[in-house]
Symmetry: C2
Subunit: 348 residues, 2 copies
DNA sequence: CTTTAGCACTCGTCAATATCGAGTGCCAAA
DNA sequence: TTTGGCACTCGATATTGACGAGTGCTAAAG
């Protein structure tokens, strides 16, 4: 079965691609045949390499910026690299220790997310991002209504993880303090332990179902709860750190690119959508350059991993950096951080 | 009294400085004697102008980037310009209308601040910033305690402007729901209409004073309130918009500068301190270049104005842009925005 | 005393030009 | 299939010269 050579032609080409990408990621300069010959470790002359390179170019995996430069990986080149060639380098002991330490203290989920974001950016020297998902996955614990002036009512929603959300609503009718209290009590009893998503569904259903049969108080309670939950603008959000790290990369050092990128960070919408997509697809994901389909990220890669609390999807975190990044180091860091964040959130 | 000439030597020099600064702000290129001769409108030859320029240079008001370039204003030059030379250009009708319209809708103070920030950045094409001050000036309206699991109690603090702040505290003793309710009632009655700052002072004093004479409930109420108010980390904060506008200015287009600047936006501390300073000094303030004493702002100017609600200082807002900015247009915009924001907040 | 013209001089900008070296593609020989 | 050789391409870098804007100074004019 084995031929004379240890490597089939195709395997050899793959190997060269790997070496080329690694080298390019290191120095950021087009890799020529001579360099590659040395780096590969194989005993082949530059001329041979040139033939292989030519093949790789035909396959669309590498390209040369101009006639007489070396080759650089294309998007597909990177893709193949991360999919099947890269040798992952697990974080060193020191890094792991620092990570653990960082997560040890905090309890508050928001603070934890912030920590995670900062860690990601710190270790990778790129931008870290942690998505904290909106209401869909939040567990209900308690609701209270406080009368304000006029008809206005302050509603306070406490979730299981200790977060507090509040919103002022203004129903048409006036409710007395004791009516409000009764309503709150009813709701607290009735929906204990449900998720907001679930609660919403049940609310709609039950309002429909029992429209006339139920008592006044309950009807009102349901109505107000629905107002709160529905109008609840607890949208998904993310926390970024280290955006300015991106300014140090030559690839992004052009103002127009940089500006689009930073604008996309404040706009949030599209980026959230991307992250949300990564939430569905389980496991790590890597978007390379234009793959994301989001123009401001054209020269960037986005590496994401969902994080779980009690085997339940809780959110996504990741790293944004230039396409030319140290995937072998960064991917494991994202992976580990996701696991640690999940664990830290569990300890609640 | 009048001499032969309409202008004294010094007045003439000032006038030339004004024209020079205006011209430099327009084109961003060093202004030479010939240009200045034309621009000034006075019928003087370039040679004469050169003499005046030489004087201005001796006074440290202008400088030339190299031997054979025109002159550019120094920091002191700008200073003199904004202090006593600039002719302010009030916002046009269109702008005023747009401003008014923007503020008409919203009621929520946070949203208003955000609007203001965006307006500032939009009209000036620079970065807008609105400082929302911390607890010191916030008026108390209502406090509530909600029992959570264990000893933990969720405290909700509603302020007069409708903002809601919450915090979970964990007293040593356990309190029943009705105890908490009583405590809240007491506090609400007793401190109605005080500012948080004031409330804090009174709390400390009254706890001291009446340590043994007062009843149990009151003592507990005071204690808990103090915990909330004191540990309240409602620090000053600011809301920025249009940071990326700054990327378009050549003066800031160097990565190291830009990075320092943007880092200072996320770090917030020092910038808050600056803004806080402007709160004290009443009236508009202009920090030009290094004047702020904050290195990241070295090549920027900061124009601030406090805004007032009911003749009461409420916060500061302003604009950050390159030293070379259209002061004549920007200063009035900041001024007007401050007034409008104050008015909009009042309507509550 | 002030203003102005004239002139030599300084420098940055820009375009043209030459040089260097890395790297390629291809061909013919091993 | 691999390799050495060779002509060729092209970016990067430095050199040069022309140009022009602007200055400072001096001496003459008002």
């Amino acid at each position: 079965m084995a031929r004379k050579k240890e490597l089939s032609n195709n395997e050899r080409a793959q190997y060269f691609l790997k070496v080329l990408v690694e080298r390019y990621i290191r120095d950021g300069e087009p890799v020529g045949s001579r360099t590659l010959a040395k780096d590969s470790g194989l005993d082949l002359s530059p001329a041979t390499i040139r033939n292989v390179m030519s093949d790789l170019e035909d396959m669309g995996l590498v390209e040369s910026p101009h006639t007489s430069a070396g080759r650089v990986p294309t998007i597909s080149g990177y893709r193949m690299f991360v999919d099947s060639l890269v040798t992952l380098k697990p974080p060193g002991k020191g890094e792991m220790a620092a990570l653990q330490r960082q997560f040890a203290g905090e309890g508050d989920p928001k603070a934890l997310a912030e920590s995670a974001s900062q860690l990601l950016s710190g270790f990778t020297h790129m931008a870290g991002v942690v998505m904290v998902p909106g209401r869909s996955h939040i567990m209900f614990r308690q609701i209270e209504f406080l009368p304000l002036s006029g008809n206005r009512v302050l509603t306070i929603l406490v979730t299981k993880d200790g977060e507090v959300h509040n919103r002022i609503i203004e129903p048409k009718k006036h409710y007395t303090a004791s009516e409000l209290e009764q309503a709150a009590n009813l709701l607290n009893q009735y929906y204990a332990g449900a998720s907001l998503e679930e609660m919403h569904k049940r609310l709609v259903k039950e309002m429909e179902e029992a429209r006339d049969s139920m008592n006044q108080i309950m009807a009102r309670a349901l109505e107000m709860a629905e107002t709160v939950i529905d109008s609840s603008d607890e949208q998904d959000d993310f926390i970024m750190a280290g955006q300015t790290n991106l300014m140090d990369f030559d690839e992004l050092a052009q103002m127009d690119r940089l500006r689009k990128l930073f604008d996309s960070f404040t706009e949030k919408q599209r980026l959230l959508h991307l992250l949300d997509g990564s939430l569905q697809a389980q496991g790590m994901q890597v978007f390379i350059g234009e793959e994301s389909g989001y123009q401001p990220l054209d020269h960037c890669s986005l590496i994401t991993s969902p994080y779980e609390v009690d085997d339940q999807l809780a959110g996504v975190l990741g790293v944004i950096g230039p396409t030319r990044m140290a995937y072998d180091r960064v991917i494991p860091i994202v992976d580990v951080t996701a696991k640690l964040l999940g664990a830290a959130l569990k300890q609640q």
